[in-house]
Subunit: 249 residues, 2 copies
DNA sequence: CTCGATATTTAGTGCATCCTAAATTGTCCG
DNA sequence: CGGACAATTTAGGATGCACTAAATATCGAG
């Protein structure tokens, strides 16, 4: 019981935890400025909030070094993510809500909907395990299959996936290139690096030289390849030993 | 254009406007302390908020005298009420959401849902004109049929209605009494007075002496009787000349 | 190993919203 | 008409969360 009350997180708090969770998952660590970028707030604001969240047991903060979610923080983040994805799924599948607005709508509703409503929607949907973008929906007790990534945008740095399809109408040049060199059935891409938040990615396709692509990552569908590289291969969230590129010392 | 931006009302602001609207409709006026009672905040807080809302053109405030919604304020209140009622209807009818929790859920969602989502839900429901409690749902352009009241709780002071049915399991004594003396088919009740917020009511049934009842008003279904008494009989919201018992001078 | 570029934190503020306690005003009764 | 009492407003704070500007720490280059 590090966290105080059961359902008393403010909207900003939920957003911070969610963003930190996502950064940790994708980059292995979350720095002040990355969080600031993700939430579109000033770095100094992040420092302040981080201090408070650390005091409340949602994360560990080593000044000038970075943050790590605690179990409580991860649980809170996952609950918010579950809400978000259930909502997106419901809005899309049941209400036929327009694609381009589903995300923002869910972003606002996720803070207002009760757990009860969310479970009600989940039931109506037949307890889906992934949202319309293919992202996994955490279970009620906070378990996610972290290995499921459906687009390049969801890949963690250092991980490899099998490219499945490139579906987009924008940026036809790069897409043609990708289709040419990479879409031999089952081609594999490895995410070498990524710009701070949702910027361009650096990819290695097969054994070729790494290339830098603009961010159409969300258009490239992939299927995960079990990478032995970075130690852990856990599917749950519990004891996840601070992934690949967190600097020790 | 008295109100500044289109969709930039905070949650507290929407709640204040909604409460003031409801008080104005039911009592003909809204005093600081009634608003405070309705929102469970200190009277001093109401004064402060009222000052701000008046400055922004949502209401007129005569210090020590009370508040009146402006057209802008009424429009904002009605939009929130529309959201609330559409949400309640959807939760109840489509999701089978438990009765006792619909209200609170809608209360939170109404501040987060976009107009677009609300219209989407309304369409899915076939554009209902009243919510599960029988309360009228304002239209998109802010029109309500103020004459529709389905329970005694919705009756304005001074108005008369025909009692239709008493449906409740609690307070059997009073109910039996009501059934005895008042439920001759088509008996009429007039609301003489009501306690500050949702407290007991004073009713006159037919020509009998007024009686004071505890608040089971929500259990007594009524059907409106057009009362000629208080001047206006408008069905819209626009030029509604400050109902019955607002003290002039 | 020192220096500078960059990341991070501290300091000092602002705004929205709430609170309590202390004036102030309005009303109504004798 | 003059209080007394209730309703209301003012004064003075507190909290959450954001911001800017000014320190300060870290890290990679030379």
């Amino acid at each position: 019981m590090t966290a105080p009350s059961p359902r008393a997180l403010t909207e900003p708090v939920e957003d911070y935890l969610k963003a930190i969770y996502e950064l940790e998952r994708r980059n292995g660590a979350a720095s002040t400025s990355e969080v600031a970028l993700a939430l579109a707030v000033a770095p100094a604001s992040v420092t302040g909030m981080v201090r408070r969240l650390a005091a409340q047991g949602y994360l560990d903060h080593v000044p000038y070094r970075g943050v790590q979610l605690t179990a409580a923080g991860r649980a809170a983040a996952l609950r918010t993510i579950r809400r978000h994805r259930i909502l997106e799924t419901y809005l899309t599948q049941v209400l036929g809500y327009p694609w381009d607005r589903v995300h923002d709508e869910a972003e606002r509703l996720e803070h207002a909907a009760s757990d009860e409503l969310i479970e009600c929607l989940a039931a109506a949907l037949g307890h889906p395990t992934s949202d319309p973008h293919g992202a996994p929906i955490p279970t009620v007790d906070g378990l996610v299959d972290e290995r499921v990534h459906r687009t390049l945008a969801d890949l963690a740095v250092g991980h490899t996936a099998r490219m499945v399809r490139v579906a987009s109408d924008k940026d036809p040049d790069l897409l043609r290139y990708l289709a040419d060199i990479a879409l031999r059935p089952g081609a594999e891409v490895t995410l070498v690096a990524r710009a701070p938040y949702d910027g361009p990615l650096t990819l290695r396709i097969g054994e070729a030289q790494p290339i830098v692509g603009p961010n159409l990552a969300a258009q490239v569908l992939v299927e995960p390849v079990l990478t032995p590289a970075p130690a852990s291969a856990a599917s749950a969230t519990e004891p996840k030993p601070a992934a690949s590129r967190a600097r020790r010392r």
